[in-house]
Subunit: 307 residues, 2 copies
């Protein structure tokens, strides 16, 4: 009987859960987040840590770096929270401008974007191009993409260096997908691509229809829960109606050696392959594993490294 | 030149947006929400209006009705808020039980569910079966399903009477999908299917891996933004660590003729077909329509009807 029990146990192995796989991943499976790409948005409510992806949006990220260096985000604010969509924050506007709702660059909530926008170069910040190049996609060449392994509704997709990406074989391009916590640059209508002074993070179901319509610059890797829980704005598109409702930004800066370090599970690692498989085939609580997963439901693991 | 401009305008028509289509939908395109299926969860923070789907989960909904009739949810509480996942609330526990974190039925956050659970029948409520039948799916027969029109990662899907549903042609079954605002019944491990005393609503990216693993009973059609903005719990799986963090439920009741009425855009209507098409092919702000949409990104329109 003991032998039989042992055989049965061997025949029906307890498969490791996604969490088990992450916990057991070796050091070599983790990619360090470079401090120079780790943007910290500090508020009285908490700090949001954002990893930027200069391989995908170099011009927009250069513009954001310049704004940060000039202190333009300090005393900026979270101006918009639209349920099941985005939180949006803005640099301090130039003279004669305000952060009040309606005057900000929009993120495609409806069919039309709100006109206006925080004009570039009107504030005390550095000069940079008023119209940045659209960085909605980049050549797929140079990226190592681990395929999702499931059919994607929108485009073939997978993970490159920890980023959820989709691709188009006809154009030979790839782009960062809009998933929960993705960070993009607000813009008005074309050819305006935004100037980096208004950013948003996704706080709802992945709005993949925004893919290739707006520049994605990174994703929140820590602290989003403090901001996804912000009160929703009651103005059009979730903008706050009054400045009093906004959450003020104390400071935005890039990480230094003194800050917490983060690591992302590397897409090319065997641990990530196992994780992907386990996300699509959940066990334990689950009586019927899905056998598939959509890109945004994978949730690339991130960890904060103890010093 | 005027003629040419007119011709060009005709050649490039301004396509109506999803919002335009909803605004123009005739009265006949709307299905009224029956008051007896409209459950109102009242709290000091706001009221959540939930449409229940007795065609999909009759036994669980009968159990919920009995709990509501017995006042078991009154003085219950929101006990769990897990970011990018669910808010969960619970009926008042029976004698000797508490609503403190960890003792509640779990919704599959990790590989294992928390043991325990609020036992059925220990409180002042009515007697009902301790183990309800699993209502994870139902026969597809009897449903009129409007196809999504895009490839679904998980299973062929569409809309039945305003509900996002997926189906399996091999088993001849269909089920309510886990999208933003979907409401389900918390459970522990099989064969426990929950007793209806702990419910959750999705507040993140559609966790479709839960489909057919848990009983979905309806969806929030109004008021979710007051609850998706609740502070996230810091205990395991997002449970609050202390009762003081919980939001108390004043009362749960079903709607009467005196309450606001709601209507859902009917899946079989031409207006819904146009809406679905427009959601997959956004115009205006969008420079590159996706040409597809995933099930949970459609967001079935609901309206509150003026009296």
């Amino acid at each position: 009987m003991i032998l039989l029990a042992a055989l049965l146990a061997a025949a029906v192995p307890v498969l490791p859960s996604p969490a088990d796989i992450v916990a057991a991943a070796p050091l070599s499976a983790w990619r360090a987040v470079a401090p120079e790409n780790l943007m910290l948005v500090e508020t009285p409510r908490g700090t949001m840590a954002i990893e930027l992806a200069p391989d995908f949006a170099p011009a927009h990220i250069a513009a954001i770096r310049a704004l940060v260096a000039a202190g333009r985000f300090d005393a900026g604010a979270f101006t918009r929270v639209q349920d099941n969509y985005v939180v949006q924050w803005a640099a301090r506007p130039g003279p004669g401008k305000t952060l009040t709702s309606g005057g900000a660059a929009a993120v495609a909530a409806g069919s039309t974007a709100t006109p206006g926008g925080v004009a570039v170069g009107t504030g005390p910040g550095p000069a940079h191009p008023a119209i940045l190049p659209a960085e909605y996609e980049r050549p797929v060449k140079g990226l190592q993409i681990t395929p999702l392994g499931s059919t994607d509704t929108y485009a073939p997709s997978g993970f490159a260096d920890g980023w959820p990406v989709a691709r188009d074989s006809k154009t030979g391009t790839a782009w960062l997908a809009h998933c929960y916590a993705s960070v993009g640059v607000g813009r008005d209508n074309p050819p305006d691509t935004g100037d980096g002074s208004e950013l948003y993070a996704v706080i709802g179901h992945g709005p993949r229809h925004l893919d290739r319509n707006i520049t994605v610059v990174g994703r929140v890797i820590d602290g989003i829960a403090d901001f996804s829980a912000l009160a929703r704005g009651t103005g059009p598109m979730g903008f706050y109606r009054t400045p009093a409702e906004q959450t003020v930004i104390t400071r935005v800066r890039f990480a230094t050696a003194a800050d917490p370090r983060y690591e992302v599970l590397a897409s090319a690692s065997p641990a990530f392959a196992a994780y992907l498989q386990a996300r699509a085939n959940r066990t334990g609580f689950f009586v019927r594993p899905a056998g598939a997963t959509d890109l945004c439901n994978v949730q690339v693991p991130v960890r904060r490294v103890a010093k």
